[in-house]
Amino acid sequence: MTEPLDGATVEVIRNYLVSVGEQMRRTLVRAAFNPVIYEVLDFGISIYNADLELTAEAAGITSFLGANDHAIVKGVEYVGRENLRQGDVYLLNYPYWSGAHSYDAMLFAPVFRPGHEGPAAYLAVRAHWMDLGAKAPGYVLDSTDMHQEGLIFPGTKIVSRGEVVRDIVELIRFNSRLPDLTIGDFHAQLASLRTGENRLAQVWEKFGGPTVDQAVRQIIEHGERVARKAVAALPDGTWTAFDYCDDDGITDDLIRMEVKVTIAGERMEVDFNGSDGAVAGPVNLPIGATESLAKAIYKELTTATEPSNAGHYRALDIKADPGNFFHAVYPVATFTQWSGIVAFELMHKALAQVLDSIPASSGGDEPGFMALGHDPRTGADYVISNNEGIGWGASRDHDGANAQQHPSQSVVRNTPIEVLEHKATLFHERLELIPDSGGAGRHRGGLGVLRQVRYLADGEVLSMKKKSKTRPWALHGGQESEPSEMVLWPETERAKRVGMYRAAMRAGDRFVNRTAGGGGYGDPLERDPAAVVADVLDGYVSAEIAEQIYGVIVDETGGWRPTPARAENHEG
């Protein structure tokens, strides 16, 4: 055992290691072929020490935190540590191990260094591939087992001692509908791994391998101390909450998701076992995905601004037994994990019973859409997607944000109208905030948006949302908001309200994508009347709702008077 290092040396080495992850991230984004990687940020990059503990990471989006942690352990176990050689790279997308659907391909590589027995570190880069031969092109909404979800690799050597294994790459080429993009992204991931190997070697050379190993131990211990301290500051107890995901895409039944959160001293336990069992459709969650969403909420509460390491999560226990909805086992379908987005805020709902700093529900999930078709102007096919903003939940200190991406992928941007109308035969008739869509409360939930689009030529639309049948939750006397929905062919006899759905559109057909507002926080009658007046003047809240729900009668000059309900509430 090396002597403990001083806190300055550890911090210097920590900065170098975090930068290695960041350089890997920039290399991947620089070299990636498909926009799902460089625009939607659908990737996760991690560095592990010899004991497979997370040293540093560069997550693409919030809900991919620690996404590789489960997969690297499973992958190394499957391959056998003793079989790993310098220059090898393995491919893993078996969902029950990788913690993601089959199109999220993780590459991992052992990194060796002179004088160290076995791998001294591991690197993992996971990224979304465009196609691996699942039953339908684009997104699969109705698979009922893994074998309808494309080609599976359980930890397959794809680079051997520095040489790409041609047979494996050809297997991918012949099984993918989009082979050039898929293999292009594979090479981008390799470039990212190579950057990581080189930079890690430089760090070892600069500081000495054993010194870096010791620093990593101390970095992880530090992470653990900080997180434990934060948990210790939270009240002890057990709280349970449940919520619903729309359905599994096969039947119309609601899926009940339950979490029990226990805080005991410096530890937190998150138990999903009260939830429904596995369902037929592709919305089941592998345990790795469940762990990621639990880690994200835990991170918010403990170490929100620090780059992650294994120590942060040592005092977190996550429970979901095999066969549960939150612990998919072979061969259940896992392709469309929107359910994980709906479950993202579930721990919040439990903890809100004791922590008044937790906001109300931020609309439920990511209510975007995809459009597919053929553009007669260019003669080319198009596939385009848009992540739509949603109203965020109100919180103790302020109103919820209007039309902001769901917290689980809040760093992703929407697609501009001018881009959508260039790349696809779509014509926008409206994109506006929806008045009165924010859940009422002492603090108001954020507003959702309404987007009305007309197809200029035949095509398809995929409505993406799994929280359209039940309402986003409110807190402390606030009001729930209306859930997200897509209405196909509005104001016609065919008008149809849908959640997750695929529909053929003819030229002239319309859809309206309407996203939920955030839940309200506190009694609306206690809302500051000046804020209600401002909301009415800005059209966030109608005069009718101001009077009926907030008890504020606003006149044309911006003056106001209370309704009897508010006056009574005030006196009471």
């Binding site: 806190g7 550890v10 210097v12 960041e22 101390r225 903003g389 929407n414 001018e418 790349k423 059209g539």
Partner: protein, 681 residues
């Protein structure tokens, strides 16, 4: 002999730097005056007055101002009204709907309120499609009604207009602007397409809104400045720095105020590019260290990296700027202990209370305090002795706050502050170069800003950078850089067509129109035809991709030659080229009006043959890890040809250069310091 004095004035957060460069003698003088936020022009007059009583003989006057930037950051701009398409009044507020990456795990994040409240935004019927064809006519009565609502009812004096697809056809924007200007001649009216012809409706709306927001403020300021400088005898035109390099006349700056908002760091990059070309440094990183940030820009073959989108406080603006990356740590950054680990930043002591040593109430040790403890800064000579420094207090704070909790000596604690700051900076430089598949060790470093000469040689040692160049008067190098500017203006229009010979022929009229605009701007700024240069450029991408690259067009170019240059650049930048077809995204014309500029002037090798130290003091040598005597030289006593071996300190009042035992320093023919050597040399 007729003197040829050129003035440049740069306003920073705390000081206004004015420099006067005498082209005939090579003399470079600096005067600093405090920034005067209440009446910003006064600080400029104060700084200029410190160098000259009258400006009658001044050959050129260039000014970089942060006024527009500060108006945005401090929310002190005009109340603006927005007119957009009916059904789309919330585009400014919906924005791109994303949360800044720094707030990724803040699940109650609330963005700053939009610059224009919803009640001041309104829509009118009228619509273009993606090809610029009119789908619905502009409803002129609705425009008049919108004007009545925003101006007469809401009392707004500055309006911004942005319509969907106006980049493809600005007719509706122009007509709406004409109607409103006719109805309200005193109200300022900005249209998005007057500033940018690029697509993406939110970014264009944000751009025109920021323009409308700062226009009245800039207009008043430039008016005050012109008046005061004319009173002092200035006969030459006042030039204002642009964010993307180059300068423009004050008159044009009033019409396009947004082009000035990020001009602060641009001067330094222009100066660095000038030096890179003059001194044949094909790979140079500009390294500007101030009180709260380190700003870096990669300069290849004398050309700084550029981007066409900037952001201020999260609000995007579609204007060309240099690709400057910032690390949030500088001289004022606070060092603190977090559960046993030493952290530097992100908090800064700022100008008030400032470092502990300033004695203005600061209790948390900063990088500057560490520099005092390590002997790098001389308490007696701080800012030429104009500032009282309490080195004892700095030492006590480092001891109590850092050394004791870490269990190390005060010197070790102070040295560690620099190690942590360096580790962050090294990471940032690696990250900005890896994006371009470059190795920072192939670069030279140009270190400037108050603390650049102190940190630069230390960073070069750490990263294995062979050469660090320290210019004359490094603390005012940004102002010096402004003297090297040409007049520049960029015109762009989004076209979105396949890259083909037919397209190249079809866009010829659009290019000609952009060039025509360029010619007009240069001619109204008094540039003679022989000094005008118009450069055509295409933004090209693979069909279906998001990111594009700028490809300069040469006469005789065909689709094939453009595509092959694009493929080569794509390979260099992104690691691969593709067999796919190319698509043209944007046409750009850069109009350059050459201005007479001072050259670098060789200085005489006067004085003694060897550099003579003015003294010596103990300081911490990072090469040996020990406190040893450093020879101390005054920069004014150094002359071309002088060579020093480290460890040594060169002082010049506003900044300090520190080199270590394994480094040496040579004074080049222009009086600049070249630091070489270091552990990886």
């Amino acid at each position: 002999m007729k003197s040829a004095i050129r003035f440049a004035v740069d306003i920073g957060g705390t000081f206004v730097d004015a420099i006067a460069y005498d082209e005939t003698t090579g003399e470079l003088r600096l005067h600093k005056a405090p920034t005067t936020p209440g009446s910003p022009a006064r600080g400029v007059f104060d700084a200029v007055g410190g160098l000259a009583d009258r400006l009658d003989d001044v050959e050129a006057f260039v000014h970089g101002t942060t006024l527009g930037l500060n108006a945005i950051l401090q929310r002190r701009g005009a109340d603006v009204g927005i007119i957009t398409n009916e059904g789309f009044r919330d585009l400014l507020e919906i924005a791109r709907a994303n949360v800044p990456a720094a707030h990724m795990y803040d699940f109650s994040y609330a963005p700053p309120p939009p610059l224009v409240p919803r009640r001041h935004r309104t829509g009118v019927p009228g619509r273009m499609d993606a090809q610029g064809a009119e789908v619905t006519e502009l409803d002129e009565d609705a425009v008049r009604e919108a004007g009545r609502l925003l101006v007469e009812e809401r009392g707004l004096r500055s309006l911004a207009i942005c319509f969907l697809h106006s980049y493809a056809n600005p007719a509706h924007e122009r007509r709406a602007a004409r109607i409103l200007r006719a109805a309200y001649p005193d109200v300022s009216v900005s249209t998005s397409t007057d500033i940018t012809r690029e697509y993406r409706e939110y970014e264009r709306t944000s751009t025109v809104t920021l323009d409308a927001y700062i226009r009245p403020v800039l207009n008043d300021y430039i008016g005050a400045l012109e008046g005061g400088l004319a009173d002092a005898g200035l006969t030459r035109p006042l030039h204002i720095m642009r964010s993307g390099g180059g300068a423009m006349t004050a008159e044009l700056a009033r019409r396009a105020p947004l082009m000035t908002v990020l001009s602060g760091p641009a001067g330094g990059v222009v100066g660095a590019s000038f030096l890179a070309r003059e001194q044949h440094l094909p790979k140079l990183i500009s390294f500007d260290v101030g009180g709260t940030s380190v700003d870096c820009c990669v300069i290849e073959d004398g050309e700084p990296g550029e981007v066409h989108e900037a952001a201020i406080d999260g609000f995007p603006l579609l204007i060309p700027i240099f690709d400057i990356r910032t690390v949030g740590a500088g001289g004022g950054s606070i060092a603190w202990i977090d559960e046993g680990l030493l952290k530097v930043g992100p908090h800064s002591a700022g100008a008030v209370p400032g470092p502990v040593a300033y004695g203005a109430g600061g209790t948390e040790p900063t990088v500057t305090d560490a520099a005092l403890v390590l002997g790098y800064l001389d308490p007696a000579a701080f800012l030429d002795g104009e500032m009282a420094i309490d080195a004892g207090a700095a030492r006590a704070a480092i001891e109590a706050e850092l050394a004791v909790p870490l269990g190390v000596t005060v010197t070790q604690a102070a040295a560690s502050v620099f190690q942590v700051l360096l580790a962050r900076t090294v990471g940032a430089l690696r990250e900005i170069t890896v994006e371009r598949a470059l190795d920072p060790r192939e670069f030279a470093l140009l270190a400037y800003g108050g603390a650049g000469p102190l940190l630069g040689p230390m960073l070069a040692r750490e990263m294995g950078i062979a050469t660090t160049l320290i210019p004359r008067v490094p603390a005012a190098f940004s102002a010096f850089g402004m003297l090297m500017s040409d007049l520049e203006y960029e015109f762009a229009t989004t076209v979105l067509r396949p890259l083909s010979d037919a397209t190249l022929a079809a866009v010829e009229p659009a290019f000609a129109e952009l060039e025509q605009q360029g010619e007009e701007v240069l001619s109204t700024q008094g540039i003679k035809p022989e000094d005008r240069k118009l450069i055509r450029r295409l933004d090209v991408r693979y069909h279906g991709q998001e990111h594009s690259l700028g490809i300069d067009l040469a006469p005789g170019d065909t689709a094939a030659t453009v595509l092959s240059r694009f493929n080569a650049q794509h390979e260099a930048r992104y690691g691969h080229a593709m067999p796919d077809a190319g698509q043209i995204l944007t046409l750009r014309v850069r109009a350059v009006g050459k201005l007479a500029k001072p050259g670098l002037r060789e200085l005489p090798a006067t004085g003694p043959g060897r550099a003579r130290p003015a003294g010596s003091r103990p300081a911490f040598d990072v090469a040996t890890g020990e406190v040893t005597p450093f020879q101390v030289y005054l920069r004014g006593s150094l002359a071309p040809g002088h060579t020093l071996r480290g460890p040594a300190i060169v002082e010049e009042g506003t900044s300090t250069t520190v080199i270590f035992a394994d480094q040496r320093l040579t004074v080049d023919g222009y009086g600049q310091l070249l630091v070489t050597g270091g552990e990886n040399d």
